[in-house]
C-alpha cells in the first residue's frame, strides 16, 4: 500500500523534480525527496535507512558507501539487460546514471586548435602563466588526478600537478565557469572544466560571451580517453519499499529517464539509444577526430580511482597547489 | 556674588521653583533648607546650569550665567557640584573619580591625596566604587567636586550619610578649606543643625518658594512665619494671653501670637513657678528630654526641653515659667510671600 519512494540526492532540485513529477503521473508513485547538497555521505552513514534510493552527482561516494556496507545490491533483470557493464558496479551495488568528461577550455583567440591533445600537454612551458583552474582539492580535480594516477601512474600524476601548478596564471579560485570567464576576460588562455558548462553557459545570456570566447578540447583521445565524472544511483539498505525503489532505478536507466537526466544536466547518457542533444553535438568541433560531439571516455572503475585520493591530496599539499602565484 | 533674580522653573503640570530671588556674597556659604520635595535639588541644578530657568536671571559677579535666552553651559561656569545620589563613575576607582576633573595631570596626584586625607578616605584610594559604604561614597563625591577647585561649590545633601562625629570634623575642615580658598558655597540640606553650623545665610524653601533668607540666628529666633519657626526646631506658639500665665508681668499683647522655644521654658517643683502643669508625654533625646505638658485649666499643650538626668513621669505635676532671659518673638502667621 505504500506508494511513496524516498529519494535522497545531492543534485540540484530543479534537475530532478521534473523527472519525479513525470514519474508520478506515469506510475502514481509519490516521490519524497531531500536534496542534501552537502554531507550526503554523512547522512547515509548516520541514517542508513532514511531513504530508499540515492541519486548523486558524484558516484565516488557510492563506492565509499558500498565499502561501508550502506548499499543494497539491486536485483533487476532490466538493468542487467539494458545497462552496459561499465556503468554497473561489479557487485551491482550501484549504477552510473550519466557522465561528463573533464575537458580543456581554450581561448578561441589565443590557442590554436590541436596545439593541445592531452592533459599532460598543459604542463608544457609554452603555457606558463596561461592556465586557470579551480581549487585543486575540489572533487572534480581530485577525481581527475586520481584517474590520471591510475591510468598513467602516480609519478605521471605528480609531474602533471607540478607542471600545471607552474603554468597557472593565478591562484586557483572560483568554480569551473569562473575559469572560462577568466579566459574571456583575458586573464588566462586555458582552463579545465566539466563539459556541461559549455552548453549551460551558452544558454545563459549573461554567460554566453564567456562560452563563445572558448572552445572545448576532449583530451587523451589518442590514448585511453578523457577522464570523466559520473553521476550515479543506488538502493539503500532500507527495506521499506524495495520493489518500488528498484522500479524507480530501472526508470532512471530507461530511455525516458535518461532523456530527463540528459536534458537537464547536459551530461552524457549511459544508453546509446538516447538521442544526443544538439548543444552537445557541437562540442569539440574544432578538434580533429571529434565528430558530432562523440568522444572517447576513459571508464576507470571507481574503486580504483578512490585508492589514489590520499596520495593526490598529499602531492597537492606538497606543491601548495592553491597558493598565490 | 552669586545672584538669582526671579528664577522660576516649572514642568508641564506644576511649578517647581517659583520666582526665587537671592544673593550669596562671594566667599560665603549659604544653605538651602527646606522639606523634602521643596525644590532644593532643582535650585542647585539650575545654578549649576544643568537645567535652565523658565524666567529670571542668574549672575555670578558681572557674568550673566542663565536667563531664558542665555545659558553658559555647566562645564564653563567654574562651579562644581556634589549630587544627592553621588553619581560616581562606576568604571573608575576612587582615585580616578576624584582626579577626573583635575585639569593638569601633574597636580592630580598630590591634590587627590590631600583631599582624600581631608575627608578621611585615604585608605580607599584604589578601591572600586561599588563596594564602598554609603558614607564613603558620599565623601568621594565631595572630594571629586573639591578637586576641580571651583569658584562656586554646590553641595546637595553632602552629609546625609555621615555620622555626627565625623560630620562635625568634616564641617570644620571644609569650612576652613572653603574660606581659605575663597570658595562660595551653596549647600542644600534638610538638616537645620547642618545649616546652623555651616552657613552665613540660610535660604528657606517651601513648595518652591523662598520664604525666608537670613542669617541662622535671625531665622531661629525671629523666623518669617510660624512654619519656618517650626521647621527649625520645636516650638510653642502661644497667644499673649496664654504666655502671660507663664511670664506674669511681661508686657505682651494678649491677641498676638508669640514664638516660645521649648528650651526657654523652665520646669520647677510643683507649686513653685508661675503656672502648674501636668506631664502628658516625655521623649528622651540624650542631651535633653522633650516634655509635653498640659497647663492647669484648658490651656494649650506646651513643649519643654529639659536637660539633666531628672526623669519625669507622665501624670506628674510640675511648675512652669518662662526663663527670665527669654525674649518671645511675635509671629506674623501669614505666609511670607
Amino acid at each position: 500500500a505504500d506508494t511513496t519512494v524516498r529519494v535522497i540526492s545531492d543534485r540540484t532540485p530543479s534537475h530532478l523534480e521534473p523527472l519525479f513529477e513525470y514519474y508520478r503521473t506515469l506510475t502514481g508513485v509519490e516521490i519524497e525527496s531531500a536534496f542534501v547538497d552537502k554531507g550526503l555521505i554523512a547522512r547515509l552513514q548516520s541514517r542508513p535507512t532514511e531513504a530508499d534510493l540515492i541519486i548523486t552527482k558524484t558516484a565516488d561516494i557510492l563506492e565509499e558507501a558500498k565499502q561501508q556496507r550502506l548499499l543494497r545490491p539491486f536485483d533487476s533483470s532490466t538493468i542487467a539487460a539494458e545497462l552496459p557493464a561499465r556503468f554497473r558496479d561489479a557487485d551491482d551495488a550501484y549504477i552510473t546514471l550519466s557522465y561528463r568528461p573533464r575537458v580543456i577550455f581554450a581561448s578561441k583567440e589565443r590557442v590554436e586548435p590541436d596545439s593541445i591533445e592531452t592533459y599532460a600537454d598543459l604542463t608544457d612551458p609554452e603555457w606558463r602563466g596561461r592556465i586557470c583552474i579551480r581549487s585543486g582539492y575540489h572533487n572534480y580535480n581530485l577525481s581527475l588526478l586520481s584517474q590520471m594516477a591510475e591510468d598513467q601512474g602516480l609519478p605521471a600524476a605528480r609531474a602533471f600537478i607540478m607542471g600545471l601548478h607552474a603554468n597557472l596564471a593565478r591562484r586557483p579560485k572560483g568554480n569551473d565557469r569562473a575559469q572560462v570567464r577568466a579566459i574571456y576576460e583575458g586573464e588566462c588562455d586555458l582552463s579545465l572544466g566539466n563539459s556541461y558548462y559549455m552548453p549551460i553557459m551558452l544558454a545563459n545570456p549573461e554567460q554566453r560571451a564567456w562560452g563563445k570566447a572558448t572552445y572545448l578540447i576532449f583530451p587523451n583521445q589518442e590514448s585511453g580517453g578523457s577522464y570523466i565524472m559520473r553521476g550515479g544511483a543506488a538502493l539503500t539498505t532500507a527495506n521499506r519499499n524495495v520493489p518500488a525503489a528498484t522500479q524507480l532505478l530501472e526508470f532512471l536507466v530507461s530511455n525516458a529517464g535518461q532523456e530527463f537526466i540528459v536534458n537537464t544536466t547536459f551530461e552524457y547518457p549511459v544508453r546509446d539509444d538516447v538521442e544526443m542533444l544538439d548543444s552537445l553535438r557541437a562540442l569539440g568541433n574544432r578538434q580533429e577526430g571529434i565528430e558530432g560531439g562523440r568522444f572517447k571516455a576513459n571508464f576507470i572503475p571507481l574503486d580504483a580511482i578512490a585508492a589514489h585520493r590520499d596520495a593526490i591530496v598529499t602531492i597537492l599539499d606538497e606543491v601548495d597547489f592553491d597558493s598565490d602565484r | 556674588m552669586l545672584r538669582g533674580t526671579a528664577l522660576t522653573r516649572a514642568t508641564r503640570t506644576r511649578t517647581i521653583l517659583n520666582n526665587l530671588s537671592f544673593e550669596v556674597p562671594a566667599g560665603t556659604t549659604a544653605t538651602v533648607l527646606g522639606p523634602s520635595g521643596s525644590g532644593k535639588t532643582t535650585l542647585l541644578r539650575l545654578v549649576m546650569g544643568l537645567d535652565r530657568p523658565d524666567t529670571g536671571e542668574l549672575r555670578l559677579g558681572d557674568q550673566l550665567l542663565s536667563s531664558p535666552d542665555r545659558h553658559v553651559p555647566p562645564q564653563k561656569r567654574g562651579m562644581s557640584m556634589v549630587f544627592q545620589e553621588f553619581t560616581l563613575f562606576p568604571n573608575l576607582d576612587v582615585e580616578g573619580n576624584v582626579a577626573f576633573g583635575v585639569k593638569r595631570a601633574r597636580d592630580a596626584e598630590t591634590r587627590v591625596d590631600a583631599l582624600l586625607e581631608l575627608l578621611e578616605i585615604s585608605q580607599l584610594k584604589h578601591r572600586r566604587i561599588d563596594n564602598l559604604s554609603g558614607g564613603e561614597q558620599q565623601r568621594v563625591a565631595l572630594a571629586r567636586a573639591l578637586a576641580v577647585a571651583p569658584r562656586v561649590l554646590l553641595m546637595d545633601e553632602p552629609f546625609s550619610n555621615i555620622d555626627a562625629m565625623l560630620r562635625q570634623r568634616l564641617f570644620e575642615r571644609l569650612h576652613s578649606y572653603l574660606r581659605a580658598n575663597g570658595i562660595t558655597a551653596l549647600v542644600a540640606t534638610h538638616d537645620h543643625q547642618e545649616a546652623f553650623y555651616f552657613s552665613d545665610h540660610i535660604l528657606v524653601l517651601k513648595d518652591g518658594r523662598l520664604i525666608d533668607h537670613n542669617p541662622p540666628r535671625r531665622i531661629y529666633e525671629q523666623p518669617a512665619n510660624a512654619w519656618v519657626a517650626e521647621f527649625f526646631g520645636d516650638t510653642n506658639l502661644l497667644t499673649g494671653a496664654e504666655l502671660g500665665v507663664l511670664a506674669p508681668g511681661r508686657p505682651l499683647q494678649p491677641a498676638a501670637r508669640y514664638l516660645v522655644r521649648p528650651e526657654t521654658i523652665e520646669l520647677t517643683d510643683p507649686g513653685s513657678g508661675a503656672a502648674a502643669a501636668t506631664v502628658a508625654k516625655t521623649v528622651y533625646y540624650g542631651a535633653y528630654q522633650e516634655v509635653r505638658l498640659r497647663l492647669e485649666g484648658t490651656g494649650p499643650e506646651i513643649r519643654v526641653h529639659c536637660t539633666g538626668p531628672k526623669t519625669l513621669r507622665v501624670g506628674e505635676q510640675v511648675g512652669l515659667m518662662l526663663r527670665t532671659d527669654a525674649a518671645p518673638h511675635p509671629i506674623n502667621d501669614e505666609p511670607a510671600d
Binding site: 532540485p13 519524497e32 | 553619581t87 577626573f100
Partner: protein, 512 residues
C-alpha cells in the same frame, strides 16, 4: 546557586558540549595525526594565518563602524539620524556571501569596481556585513546609560567628549567586546564568503578534509582547531572585564539628550553613518534588485510559500528557544559567585558557535543517528525539530551574549532589592529585570531570527524530506551562478527580515 540549578545548567551545557565532544572523540580515537602533521608542514600555517588575519582585520574594521555608528546615533542629532539609526542595522539582512558575490561580480563587470578576492578585501566585506552585531549591542548599552554621567562630567568642568571617552564608552565595554566576539566567531566559521572569494581559511580546510578527503579524523581535528580561536577571545573578554564594574545605579535612569552638532559636523556624521549602510546594504541591494528584475517573470508566489513558511517557523522557533536558553544561562552566570560559570558558559557557547557549521551539523547527524531507528527519533528527523535543535545550539551564543551584555549593565543591587521585595524570583524577573534589559532581549531575538533565516549549512545537512527554505533556494541558485533567481529569492528574504529590523527602534521603545 542551588543544586538544582547547577544540575540543570550542567545538563544544558552538556547538551551544548556534546557536538564538540563527539568531534573530540572523532579527532582522537584512534589517534591519527599523520594527516594533520603533514598539513601542518605544508599548507596549514597558511590557512591559520589567513583565518587569523581575516578575523582580526574584520573585527578591527567592524569595531569602529559599529561603535561609531552607535555612538553617533545615540548621542548626537544630525540630518537623517532617525533613519540611519535603523538603517545601520540593515546590512544584517543580506547573507554575507551574497554581498561578496555581488562585489565580485561587479569587479568583473566594471573596471572601477575593486577586486575583492583577497583576504584584506574580504575582511572589509565581512566587516561591512557583520558590524551590525557590534552596532546593535553597543547601542543597546549606550541607550541604557544615564545622563547623570554627562552631567557629573559637566559639573567637574569636563566636556561631553571626554566624559564619553572615559566613562560612557568604557561602560559599554562588555557590549563591544561581545559584539566583536560574535563578529570574529562568524568570520572564523564562515564558509560562504570564503568560498565565494576563494580564500583559504580553516573552515574551508574542514570542508576539504570532509568532502574531498573523506577524512573524518582530520576534519574533526581542524574543526576543533577552528573553534579554539573564539575560546581565546572569551579568555580575553574575561580578562578585560574581570573585577570591573559596568553597572549603572538606577535611581535616575534618564538617557542623555542628543547633542545637536554644528552644520559641518552634522553632515559629516550623517555621511559617516551612511557609508556603511550604502556599502553594506544599499549598493549590493541595488544590484540584487536589478538582477531580480530580470527574473521577475519566473516569480511564483506559490513556490515561495513553503520556503517562506519554513523560514519563518525556523526563525521564530530558534529565536524563542535561544532566548529562553540564553536567559537561563545569563541568569545562572549572574547568580553565581565569581566569574567561573560566566566564562564557562561563554566558552561552551562560543565553542559550539565557533566550530564550522558543517562540523556541528555532521556531529549532530551522528549524535542523533541511533535515534532514527526509533519512532520518536524518526519523527524528530522528519520534522523541522532537528534543524531547530541545531540552529538553537549554534545561535544561542547570540542570545546569550546579547543578554549578558545587557545584564552587565544592571546593578546587582537591583537583584538584591528584588530578593527583598517579598516575591518569588519569577515575578521579579518578569516585572523588573527583563524590562531592564528589554533592548538586549529584543536585539537578541532579532539577531537570532535574522541569522537563522539566513542560515544554510545546518539546514542543508539536516533538512527533513520535502524541506525548502529561502536561504537554501538562494544558495542553490547562487551555487550554479544563476544570480537573477538568487536575487529574487534574496529579495523575498529581505522583505521578511527588513520589517523587524526597521521596527527595532519602535520595539526598543525609543528611549526610556
Amino acid at each position: 546557586m542551588s543544586t538544582l540549578r547547577r544540575v540543570l545548567t550542567g545538563l544544558a551545557l552538556a547538551l551544548f558540549l556534546a557536538p564538540a565532544l563527539l568531534l573530540l572523540f572523532r579527532a582522537t580515537a584512534p589517534l591519527e595525526t599523520a594527516a594533520l602533521w603533514r598539513l601542518a608542514d605544508t599548507v596549514l600555517p597558511g590557512y591559520v594565518a589567513t583565518t587569523v588575519l581575516l578575523a582580526a582585520a574584520a573585527a578591527m574594521l567592524a569595531l569602529p563602524i559599529g561603535v561609531g555608528g552607535a555612538w553617533l546615533t545615540t548621542f548626537f542629532e544630525f540630518p537623517g539620524r532617525r533613519l540611519l539609526d535603523s538603517a545601520l542595522a540593515l546590512p544584517l539582512v543580506l547573507p554575507s556571501y551574497l554581498v561578496a558575490i555581488v562585489y565580485r561580480e561587479l569587479s568583473h563587470r566594471f573596471d572601477w569596481s575593486p577586486v575583492v578576492e583577497s583576504p584584506p578585501a574580504a575582511a572589509f566585506l565581512l566587516a561591512l556585513t557583520l558590524y551590525p552585531y557590534i552596532y546593535m549591542l553597543t547601542q543597546a548599552s549606550f541607550r541604557r546609560q544615564t545622563a547623570g554621567y554627562l552631567e557629573a562630567g559637566w559639573t567637574l568642568g569636563v566636556g561631553r567628549w571626554r566624559t564619553t571617552w572615559q566613562i560612557l564608552l568604557p561602560l559599554a565595554l562588555p557590549a563591544m567586546l561581545l559584539g566583536v566576539l560574535l563578529v570574529v566567531v562568524e568570520v572564523v566559521s564562515d564558509f560562504g564568503t570564503a568560498s565565494a572569494l576563494g580564500l583559504r581559511t580553516l573552515t574551508i580546510a574542514v570542508h576539504r578534509a570532509w568532502f574531498s578527503q573523506y577524512d573524518q579524523a582530520l576534519a574533526a581535528q581542524l574543526a576543533l582547531l577552528t573553534a579554539l580561536l573564539p575560546l581565546l577571545l572569551v579568555a580575553a573578554y574575561g580578562g578585560l572585564t574581570q573585577g570591573r564594574s559596568f553597572t549603572t545605579l538606577t535611581n535616575r535612569p534618564r538617557s542623555p539628550e542628543r547633542q545637536h552638532l554644528s552644520f559641518s559636523l552634522a553632515w559629516l556624521a550623517a555621511a559617516a553613518c551612511s557609508l556603511p549602510v550604502l556599502l553594506g546594504f544599499a549598493w549590493p541591494m541595488l544590484w540584487l534588485l536589478a538582477w531580480a528584475a530580470e527574473a521577475i517573470d519566473r516569480f511564483r508566489l506559490r513556490e515561495l510559500y513553503g520556503d517562506l513558511l519554513n523560514t519563518l517557523l525556523l526563525g521564530i522557533g530558534t529565536a524563542a528557544l535561544t532566548l529562553l536558553l540564553g536567559l537561563f544561562f545569563a541568569l545562572t552566570a549572574r547568580a553565581a559567585d565569581g566569574p567561573h560559570w560566566r566564562l564557562g558558559i561563554l566558552s561552551v557557547l562560543s565553542l559550539t558557535y565557533g566550530m564550522p557549521a558543517i562540523a556541528l551539523a555532521i556531529a549532530l547527524l551522528f549524535l542523533t543517528g541511533w535515534s532514527y531507528q526509533t519512532a520518536g527519533g524518526a519523527w524528530l528527523a522528519d520534522t523541522l525539530l532537528l534543524v531547530l535543535l541545531a540552529t538553537t545550539l549554534r545561535f544561542t551564543a547570540f542570545a546569550s551574549f546579547s543578554i549578558e551584555s545587557g545584564l552587565a549593565g544592571v546593578s546587582p543591587r537591583l537583584d538584591d532589592a528584588l530578593r527583598c521585595a517579598g516575591r518569588g524570583r519569577l515575578h521579579g524577573l518578569l516585572r523588573v529585570l527583563l524590562p531592564q534589559i528589554r533592548g538586549p532581549l529584543v536585539i537578541a531575538a532579532l539577531l537570532v531570527f535574522v541569522i537563522t533565516s539566513k542560515e544554510l549549512t545546518l539546514s542543508l545537512v539536516l533538512q527533513p524530506f520535502g524541506y525548502g527554505s529561502l536561504a537554501l533556494s538562494i544558495f542553490r541558485f547562487a551555487e550554479i551562478d544563476l544570480y537573477p533567481p538568487a536575487a529574487l529569492y534574496t529579495l523575498s528574504l529581505v522583505l521578511v527580515l527588513i520589517y523587524p529590523v526597521l521596527s527595532l527602534n519602535r520595539w526598543l521603545g525609543g528611549r526610556p
